[in-house]
C-alpha cells in the first residue's frame, strides 16, 4: 500500500494504475519500414474476436493482393483479404501463435509479382448512410488494432435512441516497449485525422478528441500542427500511466465519466477507437486498401535490431525476427503484444495476425521465474487495480478453489490488465489465478445450461 505520489489523488487521470518503465527509447525514433515480401502467408480465419470468417476461395486459385479470400459469417465477424498476390496453397489447420491449431488459408506468394499495391479509386464515403458505412468497414476486415482485435464495425452500430457525442481516438499507447502507434501519429497524422473525420461524421459526433500520453510530445505536436482552428478536433495530453489506454480508463481520464459495469462506452455517448484503427479506415476509403498489413514494434532485450515495421498479415513471426537480425542467444521468451498484457508465442512459425501490435523478445531478466513468497497482505495490488477490485482476495479464493465467491466480488469486471501482478512484491501470479477462476466459472455455467 504505497503511494509515493499523493498528487495522484488530485490529478485528472483515472485513479490507481501503475508506472512501469516506458522502455520505448529503443524504437521511438526509428521510422516505420516495410518488411520485404516472403514466400508463404498463413491467414487464420479466427484472428478477430467473434465468429471466424468463411473461405470463399479454392485451393489452387490465384488471388491478388487485397482480394477478399474469406467473408464475414455473421455480424460479429469480418472479411479477410489476401496480403499478397499469389496462389491459395492450402486451406486447413495451421498452428497459431498460442500453439493451438486453427483453420487458416495459406497463400504462396507469386515469386514474380512486384506486390505492387492495387490502388483503387477513393471510395465515396460522404454519400454513404451509416449502414453502408458499417458494411464497408466490415468488408474491409478492420478490427480494433490496439490488441484485442474486436471487429471495428460492431462499435459503430449504435442502437436506436442512443447517440454518440464524442469520438475518442486512443493514442495513449500505455504498454511499455510499443511505439507503433507513436510512429503512426508522427508519420501519418493526416491519414489519422482523415480517418477520424470519416468516423466522426458517420457517427454524427460533435467532436473528436485525440488522447496521447505525455511521453510522446512529438506526436502531440505533429497532430496539433495539422489541426486548423475551427476543426472539431482536439488533442489532449494524458498522464503517462498504465493502463491509460484501456477504454474505460481513457474515458474516465478525458471526460471524467465512469462507464458503468457491464455497459459500453456508447452508454456514456463516447466511441473509442485506436489510432491504427482510424488510419486503417482512412486507407480503405482513400484507395480501397483493406486491412492486409499492420505496424508492429519489434523490440525487447532479445532482439538484435529493434524496429517499427509494416508487416503483411500472415508473415511468420520467424521472418519478422529474421529481418531484425534474429534473436539473441540468451532469448528465453517471445511474446505478442505489450509486456503487460501480451501473450507468449509458442511457435515462431505462427503468423502475425491483426491484433499483433508488437513482437517482443525477453531474456532471462524478465522471464526468469520470480520466486514466489506468501502474500503479506501489503495491499499494493489493491492500490494498483484501476477497477478497484481486490486482487489479493481473488488470488486467495482461487487458490482455495472458492470460485463462486470470486464471482460475488466481481471477478468478471477484471480486465486482466496485470497491474496487480506488476505491483505484487511477493510475485504472486494473480492474473493467472484470476483467469483460472474465470475459466472455472464459465465451465460450470456452461455445464449448468
Amino acid at each position: 500500500m504505497v503511494n509515493l505520489n499523493p498528487l495522484n489523488l488530485i490529478s485528472g487521470s483515472f485513479r490507481h494504475g501503475v508506472h512501469p518503465q516506458h522502455l520505448k527509447v529503443q524504437t521511438q525514433d526509428l521510422p516505420i519500414q516495410r518488411v520485404p515480401f516472403g514466400s508463404n502467408y498463413v491467414m487464420p480465419l479466427g484472428q478477430h474476436i467473434g465468429v471466424p470468417c468463411k473461405p470463399i476461395v479454392k485451393k489452387g486459385q490465384r488471388v491478388r493482393r487485397g482480394e477478399e479470400i474469406a467473408s464475414a459469417s455473421g455480424f460479429v465477424s469480418i472479411a479477410l483479404h489476401s496480403p499478397v498476390t499469389g496462389v491459395v496453397k492450402e486451406i486447413g489447420e495451421f498452428r497459431t501463435f498460442d500453439g493451438n491449431f486453427s483453420q487458416a488459408i495459406e497463400i504462396e506468394a507469386d515469386a514474380f509479382s512486384t506486390q505492387e499495391p492495387n490502388i483503387g479509386p477513393a471510395i465515396d464515403w460522404e454519400s454513404m448512410n451509416i449502414e453502408q458505412f458499417i458494411q464497408a468497414v466490415q468488408g474491409a476486415g478492420i478490427v480494433g488494432m490496439g490488441g484485442a482485435a474486436f471487429p471495428a464495425h460492431v462499435k459503430f452500430s449504435i442502437p436506436e435512441g442512443q447517440q454518440i457525442r464524442y469520438l475518442l481516438i486512443n493514442g495513449a499507447e500505455c504498454e511499455p516497449y510499443l511505439t507503433n502507434d507513436h510512429r503512426l501519429m508522427l508519420e501519418r497524422p493526416d491519414a489519422l485525422l482523415k480517418g477520424a473525420e470519416i468516423v466522426r461524421q458517420k457517427l454524427g459526433a460533435e467532436e473528436t478528441v485525440i488522447g496521447v500520453e505525455l511521453n510522446k510530445p512529438e506526436a502531440i505536436e505533429a497532430l496539433q500542427a495539422r489541426i486548423q482552428p475551427g476543426d472539431p478536433v482536439r488533442v489532449v495530453s494524458l498522464e503517462a500511466k498504465y493502463p491509460q489506454g484501456a477504454e474505460k480508463m481513457i474515458i474516465k481520464t478525458v471526460f471524467g465519466r465512469e462507464v458503468p459495469a457491464g455497459q459500453l462506452p456508447r452508454d456514456v455517448e463516447v466511441n473509442v477507437n485506436n489510432v491504427s484503427t482510424v488510419v486503417a479506415i482512412a486507407d480503405y476509403f482513400d484507395h480501397g486498401m483493406p486491412l492486409i498489413e499492420r505496424i508492429v514494434t519489434v523490440s525487447g532485450p532479445g532482439v538484435s535490431y529493434p524496429a517499427n515495421l509494416i508487416v503483411p498479415l500472415g508473415t511468420p513471426v520467424r521472418e519478422v525476427l529474421k529481418f531484425c537480425g534474429g534473436l539473441k542467444d540468451e532469448t528465453m521468451e517471445v511474446i505478442m503484444g505489450g509486456p503487460m498484457m501480451g501473450r507468449p508465442i509458442a511457435s515462431l512459425d505462427a503468423p502475425v495476425v491483426k491484433g499483433c501490435s508488437g513482437i517482443l523478445a525477453f531474456t532471462e531478466g524478465q522471464t526468469l521465474k520470480r520466486k514466489e513468497f506468501p502474500c503479506i497482505r501489503c495491499g499494493r495490488c489493491v492500490e494498483a487495480c484501476p477497477y478497484f477490485l481486490n486482487p489479493a482476495r481473488f488470488a486467495r479464493l482461487s487458490r482455495a478453489r472458492m470460485f463462486g465467491e470470486m464471482k460475488g466480488y466481481f471477478v468478471f469486471d477484471c480486465v486482466e490488465c496485470g497491474c496487480c501482478a506488476f505491483a505484487c512484491p511477493s510475485s504472486i501470479p494473480i492474473v493467472q489465478l484470476i483467469r483460472t477462476g474465470k475459466d472455472q466459472l464459465r465451465n460450470t455455467q456452461a455445464s449448468e445450461k
Partner: protein, 338 residues
Amino acid sequence: MKQRDPELLLQHAPFLRQGMTTPTAMGDVLIALTPATLAGLWYFGISAVLVIGASIAGAVLTEISFSGTERRGESLLDGSGLLTGLLLGLTLPPGLPMWMAFLGGVIALGLGKVIWGGLGNNLFNPALVGRAFLLATFPIAMTTWTTPDEAFWTFRATNFDIPFTYTEIDGLTAATPLGLMKFDQQATPLSNLFMGSTSGSLGETSGLLLILGGIYLYFRRDLDWRIPVSILLTVLVFSAILGLFDSERFPAPLFSVFSGGLLLGAIYMATDPVTSPTTPVGTWIFGIGIGLLIVLIRVFGGMPEGVMYAILLMNAATPLIDRFTQPRVFGHLRGDND
C-alpha cells in the same frame, strides 16, 4: 544471421514487475532499524547486544524448527523471522535476563506467527505478541528500566540470570520519561527524548534515528506513509485537546509523540503489512484508532505505556476494517459489493 529456435518459455503477462520484492522489503526494514539499534548499543552497551541477540535467536530458531524441511530455506530467506526478533528485542528493557528475551522470541514466532500458518496469515504483530507475553509473565523484569549512562562494557547482572530465576535489583533503576510523567507529573526535556539519552527500552529512546529510518523506508517505497502519519497526527491532536482541559496532568503533544515506544510502534510495527488493513481508507482508520487508543491508555490506563496494546487491539480490528472499507468497484454503485 543466426536464427536459433530457442526453447521458448511460455510464461504469462505481465512480464514486467516493479523492483521491490518481499525479501528486499524486509531487508530494507532491517537497514532502517540499524541506526536505532546502534544507538541502543551506544546507550546501553553490551546488555543491548545480549538482549537483542537472545530475542533474535529465539525467533529465528523457532522459525527454523517449525518450518517444514522444504520450506525451511524459503522462510529464512524472506527475513521476517529475523525482523520479528529484532523488533521484539528493541522493545525490551536493557536489564532483562537473556533467557526471558529468548523465550519472548520463541513465543513471538510460535504464537505470533507459526500457529497462524506462517508469514501472511497472522492476525497480530508477532513481535508485539512476544512482548505482551513477556509483560504479562514477567511484569517486574519488564518494567525495570536501567539508566543509559553506564560504560559500554558494564555487564548488567540481571542479563545473566539462569532460567526461571530473577534477581530483584535496586538502586540501578530509573523511571522512563512516561513513568515520570504519569506518576510524578515530571516532564523530560524534548531534546533528550529526541536524541535518545533517556531510560527506556533498547530501541525506543532515540526519536531522531527512528524517524530517519522511516524516511528511508518511505523513499524505498516499503512503508505505507498513511499509518505513521495518521497515528502521529491523532496523538498530537488528541493530546492537544486533552491539554486544553488540564495541561498539568496531561502530557504535552510533542512529549507524547517522542516518548515511549510511540515512534517505534508507529513506524515499524503498526505498518507491518500483514497485520494492517489493505485498503487505503482502512489504513487511515487503523492509524487514527491506534492514535486514540495510545493516548487513552497512557492517560487513563494503569500503565504508563499503551502503544503495544493499542496496536494489538487495532490488529484485531483489521479484518473488520478491511471488510467495511472495500472501495467501490469501478463502474458499480457503492454498496453493490458485499
